[in-house]
Amino acid sequence: MPGDSNRARFEREILPHLDAAYNMARWLLRGSDDAQDVAQEAVLRAFKYFEGFHGENAKAWLLRIVRNSCYTWIKGRPMTESMSADEEGELAPEHERALVEAGHGMPAPDARLIEAADRRLVRDALDALPIAHREILILREIEELSYKEIAAVTDIPIGTVMSRLARARELLSQSLSGDKVTR
């Protein structure tokens, strides 16, 4: 069993990121109630392996475990999510339909904070993105991770982080305006 100092270190370095872990699970699982179970198992798994962790970025390390747990959960339920991270491909039909339904102009650039109705649209549009694009926007905009940290969490090269983030923003922008993406 890990010793006291390990527990103290875990409490100090990992537990402050519990909200981030749960938030990530909620977003990846599209608000499913199972996010609680997945987040809980991820934290327990993190504790199990924590003695071997000596890196600097505990948050990225924890989120990586949460992400893997979410992907495992999704794989057990193939109907809930398309797993393919098709970088430049067409949207899956169900996503396309959701995007059309969510199609709506964003407020003018001067409106600094969006209204509740628009918040709902942005959230729906985010939820409708393929998971690879959704997760990268959550990690960047909500968890405010750097490209390097995102690469560590998602296990992809930094170059792919850049292109995928650009693509995710284009898809989201497109779905909210109803425009075609310009390449």
Binding site: M1, P2, L113, A166
Partner: protein, 261 residues
């Protein structure tokens, strides 16, 4: 720079990941190319919309309890040890405690030396973090200072100056009541691009224009100055140069406003 290069680079720019060497070329391109500038503006707005307005889900109490029990049973923790997992901790308390825990663990014991001012600064930082959580940013939301200023009437024993700095690129977002040192203070919210700037105004400043102080805390820049008997705390993740610029303009405009009234 061509538009294809700018396309790749504007995301680096937006995310503050661009190199110093590449910045001038991209900025020149965005000034000169209306199409790229329009796309960039839109992406910046969208980025801000996600950053500020999308929900950050906090761990529900029940889950907190479940994790604590599991760590107790399987990890050998004593139940009382897991202070982060105690039931009923709200996100605000957690945000504040994280700030304190980080300060305590940062080995700069001087920070925790007990200076009153320092504790206040911790609370300013906690207030800022709290405000960034969904739904806590403003009680009164308006870009019009003539709407925001009267809102504070009767809620505080000061009338904070609310100034329009939108022409300087710092539009007003709104205001709210907040608490620092167990006392209510006025919080004014401004923006710079997708950065939120909180201005906390309390009644205990000096009447003279005291020297401003500035420092960085956990990646946030904090500036403090006194004006017209009030104390102003300015905090943001905006870079220190622009924040200093903002504080100077705010201080100047606040002086003008209090001079008029």
């Amino acid at each position: 720079m061509r538009c294809t290069e700018a396309r790749a680079m504007r995301h680096l720019y937006l995310d503050a990941e661009i190199s110093v060497a590449d910045t001038p070329a991209l900025e020149a391109h965005l000034r000169g190319c209306r199409a790229c500038a329009a796309i960039f503006r839109r992406e910046r707005e969208l980025s801000a919309a996600i950053e500020v307005d999308m929900p950050r889900y906090a761990v529900p109490d029940l889950l907190r309890t479940r994790i604590r029990d599991r760590l107790h049973r399987e990890g050998g923790w004593r139940l009382g040890e897991l202070r982060f997992l105690r039931r009923g901790w709200n996100p605000a308390a957690i945000a504040a405690s994280i700030v304190l825990a980080m300060a305590a663990s940062s080995a700069t014991t001087a920070i925790m030396a007990g200076a009153e001012e320092d504790r206040t600064e911790q609370e300013v930082l906690a207030s800022h973090i709290r405000s960034l959580m969904a739904g806590h940013l403003t009680d009164v939301k308006s870009t019009d200072q003539h709407t925001v200023k009267p809102w504070f009437n009767g809620k505080l024993d000061i009338s904070p100056p609310v100034v329009d700095l939108s022409s300087d690129g710092f539009p007003l977002v709104g205001g709210r009541l907040d608490y620092i040192d167990h006392r209510p203070v006025a919080a004014l919210v401004y923006r710079r691009l997708h950065h939120v700037i909180n201005v906390l105004v309390s009644a205990e400043g000096k009447n003279t224009a005291a020297a401003a102080s500035a420092q960085t805390r956990r990646g946030y820049n904090v500036t403090r100055f006194d004006r017209g008997g009030m104390r102003f705390w300015v905090i943001s993740d905006l870079n220190s140069n622009e924040l200093r610029d903002f504080a100077a303009k705010l201080s100047e405009a606040a002086r003008d406003q209090s001079g008029r009234s």
